[in-house]
């Protein structure tokens, strides 16, 4: 699965739009972080492999990362993961020097945003 999405420009592009459509940017901004940790540093709390990033998004993480599983189709979570991973890639579109705010994407046709999210349980052990 991860292979299909990793570095795939279409997936990254879609992921970028989903990232603001689902309010990821409200907590992580354009990669610099806020409520949530920065995602553009290349350093990860829970691992930076695509499947680990997928897990972070799908399962949530105990210190305040909501769980999106069941709210979003898996394909969209992979696209989000691909975009998140791209933020710290050497050729990152959001990398150093160009983190200019973007106008939010128009709503994507497929899914309306969920009306709520689920906090991750505290039992998820940090790696």
């Amino acid at each position: 699965m991860a292979k299909h999405y990793e570095g795939n420009p279409h997936a990254i592009d879609d992921g970028k739009r989903l990232f603001s459509w689902y309010n990821c940017d409200g907590c992580h901004f354009h990669g610099g972080g806020g409520i949530g940790p920065p995602l553009m540093t290349g350093h990860w709390r829970y691992g930076g492999q695509l499947d680990q990033i997928f897990e972070s998004i799908a399962q949530g993480r105990p210190n305040g990362m909501p769980s999106w599983q069941g709210k979003l189709p898996a394909a969209q979570i992979w696209e989000l993961a691909a975009y998140v991973k791209s933020m710290s890639a050497p050729t990152a579109t959001n990398g150093p020097g160009q983190p200019v705010p973007q106008t939010a994407a128009p709503p994507l046709a497929p899914a309306p945003p969920p009306t709520s999210v689920t906090p991750a349980t505290q039992s998820t052990p940090p790696p």
Binding site: S20, W21, Y22, N23, G26, C27, F29, H30, G31, G32, G33, G34, I35, G36, P37, P38, M40, T41, P62, N63, G64, M65, P66, N94, G95, P96, G97, P99, P101, Q102, T103, A104, P113, P114, T115, S116, V117, T118, P119, A120, Q122
Partner: protein
Amino acid sequence: MTHATSRPISIRCARGVLPLLLAAAPLPALADPPAPSAATAPKDDGQWTMPAKNYAATRYSELTEINGETVKRLQVAFTFSTGVNRGQEAAPLVVNNTMYIVTPFPNNVFALDLTKPGAPMKWEYQPYPEAAAQGVACCDVVNRGAAIADGRLFFNTLDGNTIALDAATGRELWKTKLGRINLGETITMAPLVARDRVIVGNSGGELGVRGWLAGLDTANGKVMWKAFATGPDKDVLIGPDFHPFYDSDRGQDLGVKSWPPDAWKTGGGTMWGWTTYDPDLNLLYAGTANPGPWNQEQRPGDNKWTAGIFARDPETGAAKWFYQYTPHDEHDYDGINEILLLDMTIDGKPRKVLLHPDRNGYLYELDRTNGEVLSADPYAYVNSITHIDLRTGRPVMNPAKATRLGTVVRDICPTASGGKDWNPSAYSPRTGFLYIPHENMCMDWEDVQANYIAGTPYVGANVVMKAGPGGNRGEFTAWDVTNHKPVWSIREDLPMWSGALATGGDLVFYGTMDGWFKALDARSGQQKWAFKTGSGIIGQPVAYRGPDGHEYVAVLSGVGGWAGAVVSGNLDPRDPTGAIGFLGVTGDLKQKTTPGGTLYVFALPPQ
């Protein structure tokens, strides 16, 4: 009534910052400076029982041992690690020779025995708040302190509980769940005790929560009333006793009608800041925060009752009057900053006044019996508002700085964090000056569409902050409240996020985000003493009389909060939009300080 105002100015010299005296002529009258009433500021007993010191919220200690002569000998008496390296915004409290501290999340409470050398721990209480609460705290996982009355200590936890402890033993007396993190609610404010009520309000204005203030029974934690900041009158506790001063606040269910359909349900107006109480008038005062989302195009209307102040009956919560500092706020100008209660003579008449330096950059003087605006003067650099119309009470907005969907509006001053944010001023009845720790910052702002997903941010704005005119980001201004003028002002390079303390020794204290704790001459602004603590200071300094009869000054050091999130959250300032725009103006902070969490207590050396 209007007053001419001028911008505070100051000069910088090679060896540091020197204040520039602005009032060249002596004060016109030699009348005593305004003072708080006896009920709001009883004679100082040397303790510090609530963060603001007293209901007048003067943060003024009458102690004089540490003064302009002696302060050069001030040194560390003891320190204590809170064990939490996040933003330390709390005021240490001192009651019965015991010091009490509340840490940021996980909100541990410590009692330190001041009668013994080194102030050893008397007890510790750990509330174990839900870890997920950290994900809905907009601006670091801070806590602004406790309140102590009748042997009970009251405090709030990030995950939305109010807890009462036996101050002597740390035993839990009661715990009441008030906030729901699944809706984005947290609690960061310091509670206030007014008569037999503990007053608590929620945080979460950046997550589409609906603001409320609650009155709990001090004895058992039962919620006696809950007043929302939006919605129908019955939810806001507006009834026959409600008499706002201005026409625009009169009418039925304005908390619904001044919003698009249903927008009030996610409209903010949280009450995360300072509340206070006048026992003579039996009125509780509480500000309301910004409307949500920040994108103003999603909520045409005045957005009652956000960005304003309520006077309420503390027993029942019933609203008595309301005044809206910023109707239809479009810059995140919350109305929750400190409220000081003074008795002043204005145009020959005695008035019961409240002073409030608002986020919108104006210092308001209101008649606290009825909510009439007596004056409003800019205390910081403001270009988003041209002036306050004293006939209607409304700010006159500068259309060039109005925010718009899909347009980057540049150089709006002040920033979303305000001319000043939550960090409270102090007032000395000896000088008649209000000591305002404030910002000098501006911002670029682009509105974007916000989607409501419960438990996630509901903001809809890309913000990038920057330094204001002159390049300094912070400022500490002594403001003559009688003559409505700045007297002196200190420029600080970094944003100003610490509170102020004034003392009978004619000193004022504050801290900087790179960790300096400073004492200035209260009249001239001359720096008299400074000490470099381990981390940036964003806390509230206090002064007390120790069991040995000597004066002590205490402050928590530990950078964080919205302004210091770059350090406490290890954020990446290459994205200037991060931390809702604060990363744009704190890119250098990681080179100047590191996270921390240490109490510092200072005293003169034993003779």
